[in-house]
Symmetry: C2
Subunit: 350 residues, 2 copies
């Protein structure tokens, strides 16, 4: 199965920065080399006030010579605050990747670092959060948590949830007004002349219930309550495929579909086109999230945009403020306005 062959010797061997001992250099080594005390060296490394220009220079030089890198464990241990924010996310979700990107940016701005903890099939939300607590994170951001797993063990740190609707969480929360988003989608389709609008929902996934409610509400308000129809699904491409097959096999096609999220919408789109259905000519499709691939030229999905950057920024801000002002006090909910992005997967009815 696997072949294995030996080759060049290790490149990390003749490293000039290694201080002889092979041991990684500590602040003590730097201080000694610079001819100052550990305390002074520490101040210089942290860019704190105190040391003279001359000391600064010498310590900097010594640190560079030795290839010194502060030991995070030691810093964490000693510092009152770890300046770490833990982030739980699902490895397989593209929208989470977008959020993470923005979380890195947002935490950097406020002077914090990020610790990631992925949820994968073999590693549930609980394990993921425990890992974050053990890592001494000062605050935790949960992206798309499905279980309220954090309520039942003593989390002593502020928690902010991204993506879960307000009434489902006891923590600070940032989310997009998903009901409003679904309404936007329906309004858009109705304005294009559609009446037969189906919703492929997201089952139990975070936000799905709200999107469903928004869809039903909007249909009702347009006098289409009787024609509302919800096809079960989840947030995966696969469920989009399956929904497409359901629609194709059961009676006449609707003229438009509001999908639970973009991945589902993409699955729908691919499968419908594969079956020879013109999109948007025969069926219009609206997604939700505006993930990267929705923007790609020839998926070109009309979708309800969630502003990942803004969500990440607000979540980080909320966490930091709670750190500054204490855990007590009302939980806060930030509800962002969704934004309809009209692209090529929707069009007027014939």
């Amino acid at each position: 199965m696997s072949t294995q062959k030996a080759s060049r010797p290790s490149g990390a061997k003749d490293d000039p920065s290694a201080a002889g001992s092979g041991r990684r250099p500590t602040l003590m080594d730097v201080a000694r080399r610079a001819g100052v005390s550990r305390a002074t060296a520490s101040l210089v490394i942290r860019d704190a006030a105190g040391p003279s220009a001359e000391s600064r220079e010498r310590v900097r030089q010594a640190a560079a010579d030795l290839g010194y890198r502060p030991d995070l464990a030691a810093q964490l241990l000693r510092r009152r605050n770890s300046r770490l924010i833990g982030v739980m996310f699902s490895a397989q979700e593209p929208f989470h990747a977008d959020l993470i990107e923005s979380v890195y940016a947002a935490t950097e701005e406020v002077g914090y670092d990020v610790v990631l903890s992925a949820v994968v099939p073999s590693r549930g939300e609980r394990r993921a959060v425990e890992a974050l607590i053990t890592s001494r994170c000062e605050a935790i951001v949960l992206i798309g948590a499905r279980e309220a797993c954090t309520t039942d063990f003593g989390v002593q740190v502020p928690v902010v949830e991204i993506g879960r609707p307000p009434n489902e969480t006891v923590f600070d929360a940032v989310h997009t007004a998903d009901d409003e988003g679904a309404r936007l989608a329906v309004d858009h389709l109705v304005s294009l002349g559609h009446h037969d609008i189906v919703h492929v929902d997201g089952g139990e996934r975070p936000g799905a219930a709200e999107r469903r409610a928004g869809y039903l509400d909007a249909m009702r308000r347009h006098g289409l309550g009787g024609r509302a129809r919800v096809v079960p699904g989840d947030y995966t491409e696969l469920s989009g495929f399956e929904a497409a097959r359901t629609l194709l096999s059961a009676g006449p096609l609707p003229t438009a579909v509001v999908a639970g999220n973009d991945q589902c919408a993409i699955g729908l789109l691919i499968e419908l086109r594969h079956a020879g259905v013109d999109v948007p000519g025969r069926v219009s499709i609206v997604g939700y999230d505006d993930i990267r691939s929705a923007r790609l030229a020839h998926i070109d999905l009309t979708t309800v945009r969630q502003d990942a950057e803004q969500m990440a920024r607000l979540a980080v801000q909320a966490a930091v403020e709670r750190l500054d002002n204490g855990l007590d006090g009302e939980t806060r909910e930030f509800s962002l306005a969704p934004q309809l992005v009209v692209r090529g997967s929707t069009g007027p009815t014939r």
Copy 2:
């Protein structure tokens, strides 16, 4: 833009596990409560030999009562070995997500923990690796590294690369024999009667050069060297779309395409079908990686499978062995055999 409303008070307030002080409980607290010394408590928590059954019980109980959680920073600082393996990956790559899932499993088996560090546009490979070093990781696994960024700063820990071909790395490496994989793809297509086989390559991405070489070699061996044709691309869906447009606009379509990876293949597939081209009737498509969505019912992509689980396991093993046996010694390369997975995107020529 954002609305904010106050609501229920924080749920983390009346937590019974908080030991009054609000401070997170330490081993000292546990020991005191159990009426033993810190040392004994430590032994119990670590499941080490020594303490009597009675002590064990009392410490366990005390720890549970207090909601004690060991402080990773303190453990890391004191322990000779941190038992951490750092993993660099790209947030947006689905195949990386598959690998991470398996890396978690593999590290757990050997008693290590994982520290993730994502590469995103605002946070290059160098930053990502620096974060891992600062975190005291004993070894580093680089998934799909593009720069040899780790050679130039003094990395004193073993590094294993996943996905980069052997001649491009000075570290231990695990990869799939990509040239062989491309050959498998071509052989498969030729056996179906195809002669006009185009390759959409991956540019500078890890493994792309090998796949290209394997494609060219296989074409030559089948006497099709003169008909070989490489369309530039990268590993994204977008490049698949663009390649499709290139193919559609420039002369007669080939009868088959070997894509640089699955995402590219999926982009091709969608766009060709969108343009009314029957896949696999008119054009057959082979991908590379076998990512999750390739398996989905109606993408149903014929592809060259990389065994993510095996790759992760080998990488982790290689790292651990180097930790046990020292950094010196020949670098090792594990070259996994790729495996052709025939699904519905390829068929015989007409």
